[in-house]
Symmetry: C2
Subunit: 585 residues, 2 copies
């Protein structure tokens, strides 16, 4: 009895703390693989973390801080074995947009707001996970996400352009950014442009030409990949050395400057209700976008090894990561695509690889930060530009155009709204559009008047097939579940058909594709039944699915039905048609 | 050629101006019937129009003005032959809520805002009609509308209670109203209470006891109905006489007072963009609620005579009515249930009955208004209370509870939000909830692993039937269209099933109930195909519907599919199972 009583809480604990599950089988072989992956990822993450912090408008070291506690917390609470959590481009951009509405970059208020944003986002994610509301993220359709990522990539690249040019520019949408850049174009700093331009060119070369070159030398594909991904590290080291050697800051080249050396600080999110209410909307958007991205990365990697992730538990993992970030000088984070793939390719086997990465970053934060003084911001901007331009893949436009104009409209509107009005409005519009378009499509369902294919028991569309019909019987097949958005359309169409057929005595609604009937549709069916009755027309149903029928039996609809419910359409027509001759339509 | 060229514009004109259609066959018999109906409706409308104007916080005569031009314009542009347009209870309440946010009752700004609200609502309705966007109204599910009407009825009754008591009270939700009444309860005016109480009691008696009594005397049911509906006219006449005879205004009984005598004034809506932007949201809500109510009345009446209405043209008709109202001293109107039923029962055959009613009201506004001086507001409040309490029908709660807990949740939330937070928030919350609940229900679709019923070609759920399965083949049937809200769920579930079956070689997705596959779902299928391929599992489809297949053929999905597309599940299992023995599950 004792053990049985213990089992349940232990299982529940394991559900919420997956480390208790995989930790039991952790061995030395796995630890070795995890360590190798951690070293590779740490080296890659240092420049990336600094760069994304600057993109978010925050001090560079916050990017490193945001990678330490969150990685450890995700390792404890997350379910993906290879996901690497930390600052990512799109979430950093959204952070800049959200916090920029409230405070000025460079002020303590700005930093406090970013920390609070991570905290709120974490709370929201944990709440979604605990209440198993992860399905809400599904309201973002794939095309809307694709459009949003494309537009965000363009905005990010445009925002970094000013760092490459050495001018100051700001704005939360493409238009504002371009106007701002155009205004200040006369203040270009040449040394900055040289460093930034060279770094960008080098990184493009690394990304598109280095890997094929390494492969030709006979290097293994996985190693070549890791080398190519380390490109930003070379760029950062070389531009830092050049800046230091030639005293470029005196020539106007902006550098990262003093970065405090030491452990991540203990920080507290603000508990001001005013701040909470002005950040809550942004926190929700950031959480959902971050979650969607992260889950799709985690799912891709898990599937490669026949592993499973648990989306609701992923919410808890990401939420705890963000809450942890808020208490250790970080800002909103999520599972990143590039870092996770590197982690996976470098052989990470368990979330422990993430913990080792955290140790690596901790060491960097303790000992490497003085070396960052001469790191030019232009070099970091170059790493961002090259990283995000790979997100800008317009092929989704062509694919949706060919497949579905409705999806095409949703993508285009999301891209235009994000570019023109900013990330938050863009993504909200995308969600609303996805939903409206879906409701629109199902609000005018495909319906067909059907007749009997001669000498068979099959009933097909009278417009497409040579079939027999009886002028006293109207057989209508509906190819969609019936619910509030299409209930009135069914009524409209049916009354229309009935008004045109004075001889009519029976209407048979054929429901083989009706997966559900909600209360609105039930009321429409009741209204149809009643109105047809007033006209002396009987209303019948055929081929209703089991679960739908179970539900109808709970109501008095079937008692009031003037006609019958038939198992098959053929039986209905035989019963009702009686001895009458059918006519070929 | 000439005539052929003319036909198209003439047809288009007839589509937008239905009077050109029915006007051609109008004869003396129809005119006689229409005239009788008009007289009955006019008598009923006078007290009703005054009362609803007061409910909207407007001068009483605006209720009459709002019935004149709109009725005529609807007669020209509307498609229902019996619908009577004018002020109605719920729209009047919504007008008070919308305009009350902007101006103080009794000021010229308040009146101007109400007129502008009618104009904006009219523009919006016409735009919806011209662009055929009437389907948007379908986003309001029946239960949400039912809940909204119940809660509005309660709020309206509570708001009129203060007139019966002779105290002043205000508020836009039930709580505010009750608190306000409680505060002023010590200022009750006894003569007002006597008049209001007596009128209320009389009207309840008329409504629930007079008709049965008349029927007993042998009167025809239709006539008895009309007599019972005329109850408010008697109440108004008698209380007005009593108030005049006993000089009750001196005793503190509030009366309608001076009502200007004459034609409806020519008014202009405001063209202030500030006012427009603060009223636009309310105008949209009022339009949609008004349209939904009106269309359902029109459809009920049209069906009784096998006539048809055109919902998109109804939008134009109602829109023109509201625009007309805005230029003639009116406020937002729609097709009312009570007045339309009276019109229909009294024998109205064409929209001309409405035009005659307008003439009747015009005469009333020219000659009868001085008689309204002594009409006590308490009597009007009594007519409103008795009218709206018939809207308060809680049976929808029981019906939805039994049929669908999701619909029950939507109704309850709409009622509570409307009562507690006011009509605008209530209805918006209801819409959002309907959509979220629908998406939630379809986001976790019913799926079943199926196996072969021995000795047949049928495939059924392995959990419900004794069926044969093959450990190398997983047959999964999905009972829902695939779209963004359930695409990831399908992925999750499928990866789960695959992870648990190491022997698996084939997955067959059986799609007889999949009515559509959107771009998100297509991408999920592509991901599934790719990931299963990485695991050495082939992915097949069976029983895809024609329209879905047509669409898939436009993409390269089928080229990349590792498996095949089978016409029937049985064929798929035969092909893939080969000579292997199946095992009974």
């Amino acid at each position: 009895m004792q053990s049985a009583r213990l089992t349940k809480p232990v299982k529940a604990l394991r559900r919420y703390v997956p480390i208790l599950e995989w930790g039991r089988t952790y061995d030395r072989g796995m630890a070795g693989n995890d360590l190798v992956a951690a070293v590779v990822v740490t080296i890659m993450l240092i420049p990336q973390s600094l760069a994304y912090a600057l993109l978010a408008g925050l001090p560079a070291q916050m990017g490193i801080y945001a990678s330490i506690a969150p990685i450890i917390l995700y390792a404890i609470f997350g379910t993906s074995r290879a996901l690497a959590v930390g600052p990512v481009a799109v979430v950093s951009l959204m952070t800049a947009a959200a916090v920029g509405n409230i405070a000025v970059q460079g002020t303590p208020e700005y930093i406090a707001a970013a920390i609070t944003l991570a905290f709120l986002s974490g709370l929201f994610l944990v709440a979604l996970g605990v209440f198993r509301l992860g399905f809400l993220a599904n309201f973002l359709s794939h095309p809307v996400i694709a459009g949003f990522i494309i537009a965000s990539g363009i905005i990010i690249a445009a925002s970094q352009l000013s760092h490459i040019l050495g001018i100051s520019a700001s704005g939360h949408n493409l238009w504002e950014l371009l106007v701002s850049i155009a205004k200040n174009i006369n203040t270009i700093n040449l040394p900055t442009l040289v460093i930034g331009g060279a770094a960008t060119a080098f990184l493009f070369w690394v990304r598109w030409a280095l890997k094929p070159a390494l492969l030709k030398t006979g290097m293994a594909s996985r190693m070549a990949d890791i080398f190519a991904k380390a490109g930003p590290v070379f760029a950062v080291v070389i531009t830092t050395l050049a800046t230091w050697l030639f005293s470029l800051p005196d020539a106007g080249v902006a550098v990262v400057g003093d970065v405090p050396q030491g452990l991540p600080p203990l920080t507290l999110p603000s508990f001001s209700l005013d701040l909470w209410s002005s950040l809550m909307g942004s926190a929700i958007l950031i959480s959902i976008i971050g979650f969607v991205e992260s889950v799709s990365v985690a799912q891709t990697l898990a599937a490669r090894k026949r592993q499973r992730i648990n989306p609701d538990q992923e919410l808890v993992g990401l939420g705890m990561a963000n809450i942890g970030g808020a208490f250790s000088g970080g800002y909103p984070v999520t599972g990143g695509f590039a870092r996770s793939v590197v982690n996976f390719d470098a052989g990470a086997e368990t979330p422990a690889a993430g913990a080792y990465t955290a140790v690596g970053l901790l060491l960097a934060s303790l000992f490497l930060t003085p070396l960052l003084f001469f790191l030019p911001k232009a070099a970091l901007a170059a790493t961002i530009i090259v990283a995000v331009l790979s997100l800008v893949d317009f092929s989704v436009l062509g694919r949706t155009w060919r497949y579905s104009k409705a999806d095409f409209a949703a993508v285009s509107a999301t891209i235009l709204a994000t570019l023109g009005l900013g990330v938050e409005i863009g993504v909200m519009l995308g969600v609303v559009l996805s939903v409206v378009i879906h409701l629109y499509k199902t609000s005018k369902p495909h319906m067909a008047i059907v007749g009997q294919v001669p000498e068979t028991e099959h009933y097909r569309n009278v417009l497409r097939h040579q079939v027999r019909t009886n002028p006293e019987i109207l057989s209508l097949r509906v190819d969609e579940s019936l619910y509030f958005a299409n209930a009135r359309y069914l009524e409209d169409q049916l009354y229309d058909m009935v008004a045109r057929r004075p001889e009519l005595k029976h209407v048979i609604l054929m429901c083989p594709a009706v997966n559900a009937i909600d209360m609105s549709a039930l009321e429409s069916l009741e209204a149809i039944n009643e109105r047809l009755n007033a006209l002396g027309v009987k209303f019948h149903l055929s081929e209703i699915k089991g679960p739908v029928m179970d539900r109808l039996k709970k109501t008095d609809f079937l008692d009031h039905l003037t006609g019958k419910v038939f198992l098959s359409q053929h039986q209905a027509v035989c019963d009702l048609g009686g001895g009458k001759n059918s006519t070929a339509a």
